[in-house]
């Protein structure tokens, strides 16, 4: 049954806005510690290196590093430098922002399985980074040609690096 049949009075958008008395914008600000492992990782990015930790029990390499292995529950204190290149495991293009506004340029984001010379990993547990992908066309993404493409980090110039994840501008396709 519609509200008209109940005798209700429909409100216009303007009238409805007048009824909502309070719209709150939270003022929530934090200063979060990066912690022991992330601090080493971000300091590494500043020097153009990607650093992880290595679990001697299960062989997993964590990038960014953790000081513990979530699977084996042991402390990790072995640091390893991994290559700044690898291959795309999966990638997507966003056309709209989370607020449903159309983006001027679609953004391509993917998961990159980073190379570690002399080591192999399974298809779901590997040293991997989530990052933007550049040098690929939308068609590469839609057609899934991007899968398994070789990519390499495009670093910001050393003097512009801040020790954060954007010290790598994106991972650039070097071979599809």
């Amino acid at each position: 049954m519609s509200i008209y049949k109940l005798g209700g009075t429909p409100l216009s958008d303007e009238e409805f806005k007048k009824i909502i008395k309070e719209i709150t914008r939270p003022n929530a600000k934090y200063l979060m510690s990066a912690g022991q492992a992330y601090s080493v990782f971000f300091e590494g990015l500043r020097r153009g290196k990607i650093i992880g930790t290595y679990c001697e029990r299960c062989g997993m390499i964590y990038v960014p590093p953790k000081i513990f292995c979530p699977y084996c529950f042991i402390t990790l204190d072995k640091w390893v430098e991994v290559a700044d290149e690898g291959k795309v495991v999966t990638a997507v293009a966003s056309y709209y922002s989370a607020n449903m506004e159309r983006l001027k340029e679609p953004q391509i984001v993917g998961i990159i399985k980073l190379d570690v010379p002399g080591r192999t990993f399974t298809s779901y547990r590997f040293p991997g980074l989530l990052h933007r992908i550049c040098g690929a066309s939308l068609d590469d993404v839609i057609s899934q040609r991007i899968f398994d493409a070789r990519v390499k980090a495009r670093w910001r110039p050393p003097e512009e690096r801040k020790g954060d994840i954007n010290d790598i501008e994106c991972f650039e396709v070097i071979k599809t």
Binding site: K21, T24, P26, N27, Y30, G35, Y38, I67, F68, T75
Partner: protein, 382 residues
């Protein structure tokens, strides 16, 4: 039915600031210690489920339960997250063990208030958005102060007695292990402090501390395989009130009264004054333990008994004998577990005081901070 017991505890922090660790690394340290204390359990093969008590706004991360498993060894396991004080998590773990479906359940909670830059605004966000927030109370603890003032007036408790509680608690804290704010002060100095929000001064509020606490809870039968040094959870119950102080009975703490009736019934306690040896009570705002003492029927005349020192370390009703939140700091949702850790250590005799060596039962109390009425009580026993 299975008897739930505390098999092990671990913690990190209890410091005003822990900027060298992120919160997940702190939890990992606490968990590793707890599993060791529990006789060397392996979270992967020995633990059936994990329960974490936390609040997204304290974290600065929404839907923060996603970040619970890694540092507890809980990946690929059942994980439950409760927005509440950590004693509420103990009630969940207790019920899970009693149900017989779980043998070992790990409870985790943490607070890292040193990372919150806009604490006042976040507390204000906990108030009714349409009615209270637009009033923009300058001091967000005004509701706690209203409660304190009414309770003290109805029960004829003066500020000297309240000061006596605070000073005594800060002194008791010097004997504890996790108390960065413990100190020696006198009542005269307390009475000279200026009001923050009447009748409370800054000495009436626990300062903030960062901490992570992990507790391993098991059924007694399974616990025996790992250690014979466990402590029983004889009863635990939680009661919530309405969302507004306006509807509270300001003469007494109804939530604690009802929860106490239930846990005394679960535990077979007839006379709490004689049967309970130590009381670990939430004192993050100083008038709260006095409300609890009254609600538990420990005292006919709280003012007189405070002045006589009945709740001091040598009194017959010791409250927080190794310091409470005023000394250890306010660790947000981890507070209930902080009380449990004290009770566990007292019952195990690991605090090195013979004064409490014959204590059989300890009552633990936590009320969700800052203005919630949700109150949880537990009884731990040898």
């Amino acid at each position: 039915m299975s008897q739930p017991v505390v098999l092990g505890i671990g913690y990190s922090g209890f410091q005003p600031s822990t900027s060298h660790y992120n919160i997940r690394e702190m939890i990992y340290e606490a968990a590793a210690k707890a599993y060791e204390d529990a006789g060397g359990i392996d979270p992967g093969s020995d633990v059936d489920a994990f329960v974490s008590c936390q609040e997204d706004f304290w974290e600065g991360i929404s839907i923060n339960d996603e970040f619970v498993p890694d540092q507890l060894g809980a990946v690929l396991k059942p994980v439950y997250t409760i927005s509440g004080d950590s004693l509420q998590c103990v009630l969940s773990a207790y019920s899970m063990i009693r149900s017989g479906a779980f043998d070992i359940v790990v409870v985790e909670s943490h607070g890292k208030p040193s990372e919150i830059l806009t604490m006042r605004d976040i507390i204000l966000m906990s108030y009714d958005p349409i009615y209270i927030r637009p009033l923009n109370p300058e001091n967000v603890f005004v509701f706690n102060a209203l409660e304190a003032k009414a309770f003290m007036e109805y029960n004829k408790i003066d500020r000297e007695a309240l000061g006596r509680y605070v000073i005594s608690s800060l002194r008791k804290g010097l004997r504890g292990r996790r108390n960065p704010y413990a100190s020696i002060k006198n009542v005269e100095a307390y009475l000279e402090e200026e009001y923050v929000v009447e009748p409370l001064t800054k000495l009436d509020f626990a300062p903030y501390s960062d901490a992570a606490v992990v507790v391993v809870i098991a059924s007694e039968d399974v616990a025996k395989k790992f250690s014979d040094e466990y402590i029983k959870i004889s009863g635990v119950w939680s009661v919530s009130g309405t969302s507004s102080i306006v509807y509270d009975d300001l003469r007494e703490d109804t939530m604690t009264k009802i929860a106490a009736r239930k846990v005394f019934d679960m535990t077979g306690i007839k006379d709490p004054v004689r049967e309970i040896g130590v009381f670990e009570i939430d004192e993050r705002i100083s008038h709260v333990p006095l409300m609890v003492i009254k609600a538990l029927r420990l005292s006919e005349d709280v003012n007189r008994d405070l002045m006589m020192g009945r709740f001091d370390e040598e009194g017959d009703l010791p409250v927080n004998p190794f310091g409470g939140a005023l000394s250890e700091g306010n660790v947000l949702e981890a507070h209930g577990l902080a009380r449990l850790v004290n009770a566990y250590e007292i019952l195990k005799g690991s605090l090195g005081s013979r004064r409490y060596s014959d204590v059989e039962k300890i009552l633990i109390h936590s009320r969700r901070w800052p203005s919630s009425r949700t109150t949880t009580l537990a009884i731990l026993s040898r």
